[in-house]
Amino acid sequence: MSASVARVVPFGRREAERAPAATVSEATEVLIRRVRSGESNARDALVRRFLPLLRQWAHGRLPRAARDLHETEDLVQLALMRALRQIDRFECEGPGSFLAYLRQILLNQVRDEVRRLMRRPESAELDTEMADVDLPSPVEQLVGHERLRAYEAALASLPKRQQGLIVMRLEFGMSYPEIATEVGSTPDAVRVMVARALVQLATALKPHQ
């Protein structure tokens, strides 16, 4: 079992298109501290680290009507900038929690965007078939609104640190070594932590009937 960690291929993307999340070896916590003290290159490093991950994540969470490439890009940039501007307000609840925090900001932004789109009259014509489902995002279309909501609720009930682990592994598709860099641990330990967090999440999840 222990040997398997090394062999686990980072799922989702092929090496060529990997987000350069782990290229900067500095831990996110350190970068955040440097951003807070006003270092602009630390700020750039944070953006470089998280932008590709968030961009891809947003891709699945935005309704198709909003999935114009530029709009997605804008939205992700905006969320990241907002997070950086409020970085003093971010309370570090353990390693990995920054990404969970970013995801939450982006999720709120996505929801605002959906509300905005629904007020836009022409959106009705974009997809009349789906008119009764209120602009579903690909994730919603794939798993259904109710299931996604149940997942989000269960996730929100976990400690921030565990939320971070789950989000990094399942939603952002980061590899164990990448997460290990992020949380300052070893890949083996991360694997165990992710598994435990998943068991907790499973327990919090109301069974789907």
């Binding site: 699945g60 198709r64 794939l142 299931r147 269960a154 598994a195 327990t203 789907h208």
Partner: protein, 537 residues
């Protein structure tokens, strides 16, 4: 508790690793762990969706776009039938590969029907039903696209590995019941439940594919003599009725019979012969072919095969309950309220009597309900419902002999503890918080409420020495207890108790309790009664 279960962590690590879900391990879970296991199953599916969205299908290089249909890039033919084809396609909106089924239509009415049904199916999202994403008509063809399930069908598994283990078949049955319940709730019928149409994907998910407009198109009422489909048809459908929820249940019964034995219950060469066999129930009993099955399992499956739809389970959810219960035969039985002349309505919590422990016997006991997400302590009088799983937690300061009964007012109470083949056994040693009924060596068991009743009454007797009189009573009641305690449906979706088996004359529980001295305040004996009223779910 569940957080420390190594099996759960192993399954969770598999999900995190993106490995195939260990569904054998999942099927072995019980109690709290089983609920967490359901959660893990769901997470495994969500994880796959998240991963699918991270994946960029290699369509520019590896797969050439053959043609376009309704905005889909159609990539590769996966199969073809008499009237249609199945293609692998890429949906740029969903950024996912999908399965596209295409067929030619020559009438607008047919195309219209097809699209209408496609849209209806697209509203149904259930983990055990293949998801339909869209339907469209274009250039004289109609197409419907669904999720692309990567896995193999149960028919292929059966052919490769032979008949299924009981726990496996039951798990498949339970998941299909859930999926069919969702279909039936929408007023739809699947109409083609068969081993070829049930896929198990790499995550271990059981998916029912191909129904309604999404069905493979080769048939259209013409029975393909080699497809084997007709073996799944209920007698009423063979007689010309439209398929309905009851015929889906019949087909599921055939499927489970086949999974367990490798053969069909009825196998006549022509439709008339088939129907005659069905009506006369000329099949080899499941128990003869698989003597290893828990006794309640063949009963649950064969009820689904009843020729008269009204005699089948009242719905797939009732079949589900029966399948679940079949793996846990030590269920408690609820009050046979139909047979009780004067029904006493229990309004409030009613502890009939409870003698406080004398210093000689120190004991702490409470009932718990294992819920989806948590464990709830049940105070006397807490409402319970059919489907609840209960346990008794007991801790004693001295070696203690414990006896637990479900008192349904009939002459013979149901013995809930001790149970043959189940650990722990009397006396319960101090220093542990025992969970009764215990475990069978592999899985932790609980008592499941499987009948509707006004109340359930439990009697717990504890003593610091074996109670010969009680053990005699248990031996006598076990002999008398008819094993046939399966769910009986009355055809309207309500569960009712089976007819009480003819009671063997003997000592009743009340008399026994009096004999051993529950009425007298004895320091070395404790008698407790817990009454839980039922609520409707």
């Amino acid at each position: 508790m569940t957080g420390e279960n190594p099996d759960l962590e192993k399954i969770a690590a598999g999900i995190a690793d993106d490995a195939a879900l260990d569904w054998r391990l999942l099927a072995r879970l019980d109690g709290d762990a089983a609920d967490a296991g359901d959660g893990l199953r769901e997470l495994s599916q969500l994880a796959q969706v998240f991963r699918g969205l991270q994946l960029k299908p290699e369509r520019t290089a590896a797969s050439k776009v053959q043609f376009r249909f309704a905005g889909l890039d159609v990539l590769e033919q996966l199969g073809r039938g008499a009237q249609g084809e199945v293609w692998r396609a890429y949906d740029p909106m969903l950024d996912q590969e999908v399965a596209l089924k295409l067929r030619h239509v020559d009438s607008d009415t047919l195309a219209h029907h097809f699209l209408a049904e496609g849209r209806r199916l697209a509203r149904l999202r259930h983990p055990n039903i293949v998801s339909v994403y869209g339907a469209a008509a274009q250039d004289g063809r109609v197409g419907l696209w669904t999720e692309l399930v990567r896995g193999r069908s149960l028919a292929e598994s059966l052919q490769a590995d032979g008949p299924f283990a009981a726990a496996d078949a039951v798990q498949i049955g339970i998941e299909l019941c859930r999926g069919l319940a969702a279909v039936h709730r929408m007023g739809l019928t699947h109409g083609d439940v068969k081993a070829e149409n049930v896929l198990r994907d790499v995550s271990g998910r059981v998916v029912l594919a191909d129904f309604g407009a999404a069905r493979e198109f080769e048939r259209d009422g013409v029975f393909d003599p080699v497809s084997g489909t007709r073996q799944y048809l209920a007698p009423e459908v063979l007689a010309g009725d439209n398929p309905g929820p009851a015929s889906d249940q019949f087909a599921l019964g055939v499927l489970l019979y086949r999974l367990l034995t490798g053969r069909y219950p009825y196998a006549a060469d022509d439709l008339d012969g088939l129907r005659q066999q069905q009506l006369a129930e000329l099949r080899t009993p499941l128990r003869e072919l698989r003597p290893d099955l828990p006794r309640a399992l063949p009963r649950a499956i064969e009820r689904a095969l009843a020729p008269d739809p009204a005699r089948r389970h009242a719905g797939v959810l009732v079949l589900l309950a029966a399948l679940e219960a079949a793996l846990r035969p030590w269920r408690m039985q609820a009050l046979h309220w139909a047979g009780v002349a004067a029904v006493v309505v229990v309004v409030a919590a009613a502890t009939v009597w409870r003698l406080l422990p004398a210093p000689a016997l120190q004991l702490d006991s409470s009932f718990f309900r294992d819920d989806a997400s948590h464990r709830e302590r049940l105070a006397d009088g807490t409402p319970i419902a059919v489907g609840d799983r209960l346990r008794l937690e007991i801790a004693a300061a001295q070696p203690t002999w414990v006896y637990v009964f479900n008192d349904d007012g009939a002459a013979e109470p149901t013995v809930l503890f001790p149970l043959p083949g189940i650990a722990p056994v009397n006396p319960l040693q101090p220093g542990t918080r025992w969970q009764l009924p215990g475990h069978d060596g592999v899985t932790a068991l609980s008592w499941q409420v499987d009948r509707e009743a006004l109340t359930d009454t439990f009697v717990v007797i504890a003593a610091d020495e074996p109670l010969a009189r009680v053990e005699e009573g248990i031996a006598q009641w076990r002999r008398a207890a008819a094993p046939d305690s399966a769910l009986v449906s009355r055809g309207v979706g309500r569960l009712a108790a089976a007819q009480t088996p003819a009671a063997v004359p003997g000592t009743g529980l009340t008399e026994l309790l009096r004999q051993i001295g529950c009425d007298a305040a004895r320091a070395d004996l404790r008698c407790e009664r817990f009454v839980f009223p039922h609520t409707r779910r």
